[in-house]
Amino acid sequence: MASDSAATPVLNVSAVVKNYGARRVLDDVSFTVGPGERVALTGPSGSGKTTLLNCLGGVDRPDAGSISVRGTPVHTLDSVALARLRRLEIGTIFQFFHLLPTLTAAENIELPLQLINVPAPERAARVASALDRVGLTPRAAALPGQLSGGEQQRVAIARALVHRPGLILADEPTGNLDSANGANILALLRELSDETGTALVLVTHSEDAAAICHRRINLRDGRIVSGG
């Protein structure tokens, strides 16, 4: 899918400022992400990428500026509304996969559907389809500890997409994988984003990862230096 940030944006970030004590980690950050658009957030360590991602997901709150997902202002929501926004509109992929260790692969994928009260038969069908799509149908009953790193990240991707969110936030999704597995995961992410029209904000140091994105926003010392 081609870049379309001119259409109604999925994500709108406007003049976001975030300080940790006296230190400013985000300074007047503004950009938008359109439906189906893939944006890479790049920059050296300490440039504020993960802090920005945490603000986008509502884990951190900006000190100034605004963030809205599909028109809903993230920074003003109370915890209940924020949780609701996350379960409906946002999917998250972590560098360290963060699967629930006591749930099987299928159960991990099913969890977001349960949170939005999808009926059980539909849940089963969507989980089966997601497992099939990420190539893990035979590993459905395996616990995370029994899966390889690549398999775990594929489960995490399926979990992030299964409830059909408008936006995926991914933090170094290949950072903990070898290059072959990393390439597979990136290909999968690109394919699924294209298939579902889900916007993707991807924090990465990797040129390969940034290459699957339509646009690259480069941060340095908390400011956008290019691509904003």
Binding site: V80, H98, P101, L115
Partner: protein
Amino acid sequence: MNVPVLSLLLRRFSLRHARLAPRATALLVGILALGVAVFVSIRLANRAAVSSFTHFTDTLTGQSDFIVQAPTGTLPESVLRELRTALGARPVQIIPVVEATAAQAQRPDEAAGFGRTSYTLLGVDLLSLANLASQSKVERGYFNQNQSQNPGQDLGTGGRAAQNGDAGADAFWRAYNAGPQVWVSAAFAPAVPKSLDLVLDERVRTLTVAGVIPTAKEAPRVPPTLLILDLPHLQELTGKVGRVDRVEFLIEPGPRAAERRDELKSILETLGGERWLVTTPGAQRESAETMTRAFRLNLTILSLIALLVGLYLIFQALDGAVVRRRTEIAILRSLGVEERAIQTAWLTEAAVLGLVGGALGVGLGWAGAQVAVRAVGQTVNALYYSSTVDAASLDPGEIALGLVVGLGASLIAGWWPARLAARTPPAQVLPRGVAPAAGGRWQRSFALGAVCVLLGVAFAQLPPLRLDGAGRFPLAGYAAAFFWIFGGGLMCGWLLPLLAHAARALGTVWAPGRVALSHLRRPSGRHRLSVAALHCAVGMAAGMAILVASFELTVRGWIERSLQADLYIASAGAQGASTANFISAAAADRLAAHPAVDAAARLTAARISLDGIPTLLTGTDLALMGARSDMPWIKAPDDPALWETARNARLALVSEAFSERFRKKAGDVLRVPTPAGLQTLTIAGIYADYGNERGSIMIDRAHLMQWLGDDRVTNVSLWLKPGSNADLLREELRKEYPGLAIFTNAKLRGEVLRIFRQTFAITYALEVIAVLVAVVGLALTLTSVLLDRREELTTLRALGFTRRELAGAAALEGGVVAGAAVAGGLTLSVALGWLLIYVINKQSFGWTLGFALPWGQLAALAAAVVGTGVAVSYLVGRWGADLPADREE
């Protein structure tokens, strides 16, 4: 051991963490101190109660060399002449003693009952005591010291002063000749009363206070409840004219003292034959220690529960600290700090906490002992002997023991967390997204649990440990309880996946339920430990509730059957096993002759020593008892001669406690020493008696009076004629006999049940504390678990879980843990209840009890534990939901 690394770890990490969280450190020390304090205070109180067993005469004469007393009852005064003649000119002092007890008289507004101050009255020959003092062996024998602390009441002068004819002597003689007067303890000062109103047998007597008992530096402290009278005065007051309770012997010091001791012993034993027993104060003290050993051991075990509770909390706290500091430990490991150094540092930290907590605990324990000693003293007074202890002292040995206990407890509690800390992998390989440790293999072993339960069954079949002096301690019973608690705890862990499986439908409709139940399908070591601890607390509390309910059911039944008279009358001075107060035969006859009385049963109880073991010999009108009372039989007599005075002189009934204690059954023969010689009795039957654990022999009172040469009565039961009003008669008799305690049937039943419930109050309090602590332990477990799952919480929040849903998941997790613990605990409680009733109680006290399940109490306990478990877990879950997110960058 790499000492510099260890030192670095302690200085830079352990100490800094303690400084950064001073309140948490103080709490940890406080918990441990409390556990040690309970242990130390009970121990000090026990020691004090035992060491308080001193002959009251010691405070006047110093310790006697020998004591001569009748096997039961009193000795005629004529033995004094006989003894003096036999001893000839040997330098031995003979000190006749009469000892009695008296209660403070009841105020007009005071309800009848037990619990009033009880005094020991010691009658000694004050003149010979003065002679004794003049021979300078025992300075404290003088009654001529200047009572400077209370000059206004200084009547207590005499002795040598009297012989010297000074002003003090005049005062002494005035007091001496004025009739019965008492000298009181210096503890009364400065408010020494002018007189004391005392109940002596059935009469209230007002005795003038002559002065304060003099003391010397090296003398034992005079107990506050000791009153001294001149021998003839006390003989007259107690109806023992011409008789003495015992004779004490003091050998004058000299080069041949040891030789003289042997000679004196031989003379006394040869002269006395079966008429008297020759003992020493040391032997009597030993006997007192033996008598109370099981009681003290039980208290110590209860105090250890408090220590165990403290140990569990310390464990939870240290375990939580390992989880919180895991990243730090992982970094240290990646920097090359070896496992052993980390484990040693954690153990050292635990040891320091233990030493500080132990030191504080010793101090707190000493303070607590000053309170506990009174409670222990009261129980010893009520059940065993006269204890005058009112303070507990601390010595270096006890301080060291307290420190060792504190240190040991914290090292035991810290061992597993230290091992966990040492096994933390280096930061580079710190696993992420891996299920928490499931605990050691033994912790997950159902088979080990089952083996422990079977071992418990085997131990429950074993007989009690026999202590000296017919004492019994149910060691195997306690071992069985331990194995059941331990095995049950292991098996309980297996309930968690079963319950999670049973509730799986909840997981399909409620996402937090799915998360919570998924953790219980493969429970962690922490889950298993928490469920085991809560199961233990619930099991013990519910087991105790079953014991008390069963006891109450049995005692109610016993009261129904054995208390059938309308009025029960005893001297108001009778305040427990340590007192001996009687009603004169004349007063008992007058009571029986009242026009409203249909029948009267008199009972006389005398303390005897059977094979050196103290027990009771009671005499009652067996014919009347057979006709009027429904005796609660363990083994009913089948010889009709028992109920006829003319034919029952060689027959006896014994209580169940006696039968257990002395291992005697129906048909066995007893050889009972009495002042009239050795009596041979055949046991005709065994009856239940829940009021006396020392056991008793019951014979026909006609024979007992003859053997004792004493017609006084311990209590009288009155059956009234139809139409008579027991309450009105009680009021009438109370006015006529102010020194008597008179109970109607209903009042006595109520009093018995009140005392019964009071007995279990401390035990209940300890059990409730154990349950509360176990619930707190559950909260601490969940705190550690949630800290351990911090990444998971971050993920769940990212997936859209609300704070309430996260708290709900924790509440369900805690609720299932509490539910499993309650299910296991209630099962355990039935087993423990059975063990307490049929093994431990039977072996300790020799009482047969029925079995009752207090359904209401058990249901309330279950609901309270699960409800509290859910509530605290919910709160912990809310706290966990607010934990800051992990930042990867």
